[in-house]
């Protein structure tokens, strides 16, 4: 539980950013189809193929973020390193789901980043490269929250819509199990990361930009 008044303010604003992000996600055509039960196996394959690039890049910006914390923030650095280690091979499970859904391994291995992934990755690498990038808590808030949403909602929806031999949602489910713990860690990191009004502004702005670019990445799945 977050205790400092600034930490609580930060958490309130992060929650609002999350609610806004969820509404924006629901307006993305691909997700609208998912929520309306009109999602197809092809949609699922496209989603996984596009998502893989972000998962791979994810371990890079988290590692970069860890290395940008100096000795005054070694405690935060440790948490972020732990996080990076747990997730850096996640994409292999995702590839297996792709093949199980009828995709060719070569196709997903050779897929390029879509326009939204390019923008999201560039922004996150840029922010993670700043000295002591406490605002990356805002990015993790959005991305971890989405992991939980995938596990708690999307995986079931996908299985309902794409019921067929072999369709698996192991990546989404596995990812969500871990993200519950990650979110708990994030809660406890907020007081530590948010100590000034400037920190608060940066954290919320980074959460906001991350959410916007994430939606763009999902919009681009249909344009890929």
């Amino acid at each position: 539980m977050s205790n400092s008044p600034l930490g609580q303010e930060c958490l309130r604003q992060l929650m609002q950013q999350w609610f806004d992000f969820e509404r924006r996600l629901n307006r993305v055509p691909l997700i609208r189809r998912l929520e309306a039960g009109q999602f197809t196996v092809e949609d699922y394959r496209n989603l996984l193929r596009n998502h893989r690039q972000q998962v791979i890049e994810g371990s890079r910006w988290i590692s970069r973020c860890a290395s940008s914390f100096d000795r005054d923030y070694s405690d935060l650095r440790s948490v972020v390193i732990g996080h990076a280690t747990e997730e850096h091979r996640d994409y292999e499970i995702l590839e297996q789901d792709y093949v199980a859904a009828g995709g060719k391994l070569d196709d997903i291995l050779q897929a390029r980043r879509n326009a939204g992934t390019e923008a999201l990755h560039a922004f996150l690498m840029y922010r993670a490269s700043q000295p002591n990038p406490v605002d990356m808590i805002g990015a993790m808030w959005i991305i971890e929250g989405l992991g939980q949403k995938m596990a708690a909602g999307w995986a079931d929806r996908i299985e309902d819509c794409c019921a067929g031999p072999g369709v698996t949602t192991r990546f989404m489910r596995y990812h969500g199990d871990n993200d519950e713990e990650h979110l708990e860690k994030l809660y406890s990191m907020i007081d530590r990361a948010c100590r000034t009004e400037e920190d608060l502004y940066d954290i919320i702005r980074t959460a906001k930009v991350t959410g916007r670019l994430y939606c763009m990445q999902l919009e681009e799945v249909d344009n890929d």
Binding site: S2, P5, Q8, E9, L11, R12, F19, R23, G37
Partner: protein
């Protein structure tokens, strides 16, 4: 210009029906007891409710009559002459007639002459929309006195024969059954004036946030059981065909329900940010949470955000009066006013999160004057 709620009234039809009697009253679908009833009742925490239909499914009192009874109590206790009421603003999910508007029928029941009329249509939040319409009319000084009534007669939807007509004896799904053990009947009325009268409530603000553009339909009547069938009830060649397709049943997409908790918290945080709500200054919270299950969720989220209001400040009569949809908040406010010793200056926050397609409405009241 201030606006005050100077009187309240309510009507709950018939005797209270407890959890043991409920299925005898609504009927056994296909002659068999429900497998889900206990689970749903445990989750919503409701122990008693009222129905306007009897166990033989005769309607003993109509929706507009219930509205009129709640209004009659409200007017009588206020001492305000009926002729002074310049506006009637009504809400319901389903009137007795499909057309005309519910307000016209209630006006005729009450014998109110030459009022300005408003009917708001929707589900739980429609009462707050009706209230806001009346509130703004008084605020801008177009009216001096308004009567606002919300009334629901949902039980007619829950007769066992309705589900049998849709051929669901064997295959009744959770979404179609969920509300059967949730909603019940009743009416509540509020009188609005521009001058305070005895101990009353000043309306400080009413604000709503609707998110229909971002979420699918969560609670509905009119969609067939087959989710891939895009038709709505009037698109079928006959009403009998629509009923057979399950398009006249009330449904809740329970998968989407958690969003109402989030939207409820989201609106609350916005109001804090705007400076309209200061958590430490709130003395009472009257929240129309549709079931006990959601109360703990809303609570947990607000606590985490440092925006929690202590549990002892939360008031509800959901468990003993039932979930009466749009009438709930008015019935709650009526009982709250009658049973609580209130002090001038106390602040009350009312919340009505509606799951229909995610509309959340909030209101702040300040207790004015003392009990005579």
């Amino acid at each position: 210009m201030n606006v005050y709620i100077t009187s309240t009234g309510s009507h709950l039809p018939g005797p209270p029906i407890d959890n043991e009697q409920i299925e005898n009253h609504l009927g056994f679908i296909g002659g068999r007891p429900s497998r889900l009833k206990k689970r749903i009742l445990r989750s919503n925490g409701i122990t008693r409710r009222h129905y306007a239909i009897d166990a033989a499914h005769n309607t003993l009192i109509s929706n507009d009559e219930m509205a009129a009874r709640a209004a009659a109590q409200c007017i009588e206790e206020s001492g305000v002459p009926v002729q002074r009421i310049g506006m009637l603003s009504c809400a319901t999910s389903q009137g007795d007639l499909v057309l005309p508007g519910f307000g016209s029928m209630v006006q005729a029941q009450l014998g109110l002459s030459e009022v300005e009329l408003h009917t708001s249509h929707g589900i739980c939040s429609s009462s707050m929309m009706a209230l806001k319409a009346a509130y703004t009319s008084l605020r801008c000084e177009e009216q001096d006195t308004a009567l606002v009534i919300a009334s629901e007669l949902a039980s007619r939807l829950f007769k066992a024969s309705r589900y049998e007509a849709a051929g669901l004896e064997e295959t009744l799904d959770f979404n179609a059954e969920f509300l059967r053990w949730m909603l019940s009947d009743g009416a509540g009325a509020l009188l609005l004036e521009r001058q305070p009268r005895g101990q009353c409530f000043r309306i400080d603000w009413i604000r709503g946030f609707s998110h229909a553009d971002a979420y699918p339909v969560c609670m509905s009547v009119g969609k067939p059981a087959d989710g891939t069938d895009g038709r709505t009830w009037q698109d079928f060649p006959t009403y009998a065909a629509a009923e057979a397709a399950g398009a006249l049943l009330i449904r809740q997409d329970v998968r989407l329900l958690d969003n109402i908790v989030k939207m409820g918290v989201d609106g609350f945080l916005r109001l804090i940010e705007e400076g309209l709500v200061a958590v430490e200054e709130v003395d009472h919270v009257l929240c129309h949470f549709s079931s006990h299950h959601f109360k703990s969720h809303i609570f947990g989220m607000l606590k985490r955000a440092g925006a929690a209001i202590p549990e002892e400040k939360w008031y509800t009569n959901l468990y003993t009066r039932g979930n009466t949809g749009c009438a709930s908040l008015f019935i709650m406010l009526d009982e709250f006013r009658r049973t609580r010793q209130l002090r001038a200056g106390e602040q009350i926050i009312c919340m009505v999160p509606e799951s229909g397609r995610f509309n959340t409405v909030y209101m702040a009241l300040t207790v004015t004057g003392n009990k005579s």
